[in-house]
Symmetry: C2
Subunit: 393 residues, 2 copies
């Protein structure tokens, strides 16, 4: 559809959808043919016409040559994207959970039916990480990691810059619009996880099931943990990471102790950042805003422009022989309440046990596969776990 | 030539050419059909066959489907790239000066003859800045700036971390292989200038003549200037910058006072970094190694992989109505020896004049167009100039 008019069918008119609409409505190259919303009668700050709540009428409208899908519901998002791709339509989506769980199918749907799906806005807000990985690195990447969630990074920033507790910091994030009213996906690490699955596919060609990956979030963090980090001149950041070790891929999301020498140490508030390590270029660092309506709209617009130029992901790195493995030993800090909390932890090596009047912690080496089985114990007993990989205490 | 063998005609076998050869020689997808060197009989650490010194035999060889041009000489580079593109061949080049001075012609040569030219390695070493700008930003960029030269950044880093003078720091850079035996292009700001012209084309569509742009380098810097910066909690970095102001584009290369709050403050040694500001995404930051054989080879390889997938720059941003203007006022620091040195400087406003026993400087506002005319006076009288834009002293 190069040079011709882009007739958009837009699903979802939340902050991102509305932001997008406001930016593109004055550009004659774009026309919002139909906008599909859950509630047709809801009062809106923008006066939009062509509202429809029947999805199929938009997808089946042959005058619409681009579907832009910006809704939260993962199941509905899947249905919209699938039926659009089945009709060979071009689609832009920002739904990271839907994409992470359905990568293989959406690749095949594009291959079989000719449509294109782009989803830059799904990962790290406005940072053009997916196109970067698609176009610039070949097979030379060895690891990719970073701060992929703006909401939890905002909370962690506040914990380190102000003398407040987690609950208060979460409230601040919600007031500023950086965290959802149900913050579980952000602070539980799942939002980072979905982005990690998508980014790792474009970096390594791996198709990983999000459910197989070890994920710990920040919701159990206490001031004692912040104090521990500060004492060692470090900050705590929620880090998503993939690295190739012995032809296997190790993927995880962990709170991690970050020393001041690390580029990620100074990434604050709603910013995201990505570190890429590779054979020849050593290391690259990218950062930018990872949360908020405008940065997300910017990424959606970049996809709309690309798709109208005929751009598509090559999907040429796909490597089904590259398998996820959790058989790796990780050094962790585990803050606990009483000794029975850690009875089930099968440490390969114990470095330090601290029992204080206010806080207790253990530092030790443990298999990630073991941690995966201990997730419920950690959550139920209000334990806080963080990775000490890459830091010498 | 997707999926088929890439038959390479390689021009130049210096550190980058040799690095590239060593990386790709074991990959059966690539074949170095011919390697063109200046001196066929020179002793080399690598045993290469198929050496030729007749350029036309390589370019005219119909079995060669990719020309990789990695030579220093700008005129020869132009001849190779032009005759290859005239034959509709695909070309990868790293010669920033040649590209900066011939942008319009090489765009037209591709359009008229069907070949593709990629040149990611020309700008900021391994950072994939050109592909990023091509694929991810549309027309939303407002300014782009950064540290584009690893050699001069290495020298500046040493001046700030060790108590040494410019000559000694330059020697260190040369010993480490980060500066050429003739360092003028690096320390004079010209290397940054050529990269700025290329990057600005891909950011804004502007085609600027390098000779029209105001460029000052770091070769006149003295310990007094370093002390001045340190006193204000700042570092000095060589900054290339383009920004849109009132539908014109202001482009320049200046040493610049950088406060610690700026992302560029912590970019050290051979690293390069790019800051991109835009309407919707606010700001992005990218960094990576900008000098050395391996990072440059990595960028060349990324281009070879892209070109074999059919990738080409869209050249769709081209905007000949966007004109370079030097009619902008800049606040500068100018260190001088005696008052007659600055007699010709037509300051719009003078903020501060300092006359000390060891050093004299003036801080004032001046038109960039006036500075352009004063370049010879500044160089001949050993004056040091730096931009104080964006810093409050």
């Amino acid at each position: 559809m190069e040079n011709s008019k882009v007739n958009i069918g837009l699903f979802g008119f939340g902050t991102v959808g509305e932001g997008l609409y406001n930016i593109l409505k004055t550009d004659s190259k774009y026309c919002f043919r139909n906008i599909c919303v859950k509630n047709e009668n809801k009062k809106r700050s923008v006066d939009i016409s062509n509202i429809l709540s029947t999805r199929s009428r938009i997808i089946n409208n042959s005058n619409i040559n681009l579907i832009v899908e910006l809704i939260d519901d993962c199941v509905v998002s899947y249905e919209i994207v699938k039926s659009s791709l089945l009709k060979g339509k071009n689609v832009v989506s920002a739904n990271k959970k839907m994409i992470a769980y359905n990568l293989k199918e959406i690749i095949n749907l594009q291959k079989d039916n000719g449509g294109t799906l782009l989803y830059e806005a799904s990962s790290c807000g406005s940072i053009p990480i997916i196109k970067c990985l698609e176009e610039s690195y070949g097979t030379s990447i060895e690891s990719i990691s970073g701060i992929f969630n703006g909401s939890s990074n905002y909370i962690l920033s506040k914990l380190f810059s102000e003398d407040i507790d987690y609950e208060y910091a979460l409230n601040l994030a919600q007031e500023r619009g950086f965290a959802e009213s149900n913050p579980l996906s952000d602070v539980g690490g799942f939002d980072s996880l979905y982005k990690l699955v998508i980014i790792s596919y474009h970096a390594f060609g791996v198709i990983a099931n999000p459910d197989d990956i070890c994920v710990f979030g920040i919701s159990n963090i206490r001031i004692d943990d912040v104090k521990f980090a500060k004492k060692h001149g470090c900050k705590i950041k929620l880090i998503a990471s993939s690295r190739i070790i012995d032809n296997k891929i190790c993927m995880s999301v962990f709170p991690k102790l970050i020393p001041s020498s690390n580029d990620l140490y100074s990434v604050e508030n709603e910013y995201n950042a990505v570190l890429i390590d590779g054979k020849y270029f050593d290391n690259h660092y990218l950062s930018g805003k990872g949360a908020g309506a405008k940065p997300t709209s910017a990424a959606v617009i970049s996809d709309i422009v690309s798709i109208s130029k005929g751009y598509r992901y090559s999907n040429c790195k796909i490597d089904e022989s590259l398998k996820l493995s959790n058989d790796f030993i990780l050094r962790i800090y585990l803050r606990f309440n009483c000794i029975k909390d850690i009875a089930a932890f099968n440490f390969v090596d114990t470095i330090e046990i601290f029992n204080g009047s206010a806080t207790n912690y253990i530092i030790g080496d443990i298999y990630i596969s073991d941690l995966l089985l201990l997730k419920k114990i950690i959550e139920d007993n209000d334990l806080f776990i963080m990775s000490l990989e890459d830091v010498n205490l």
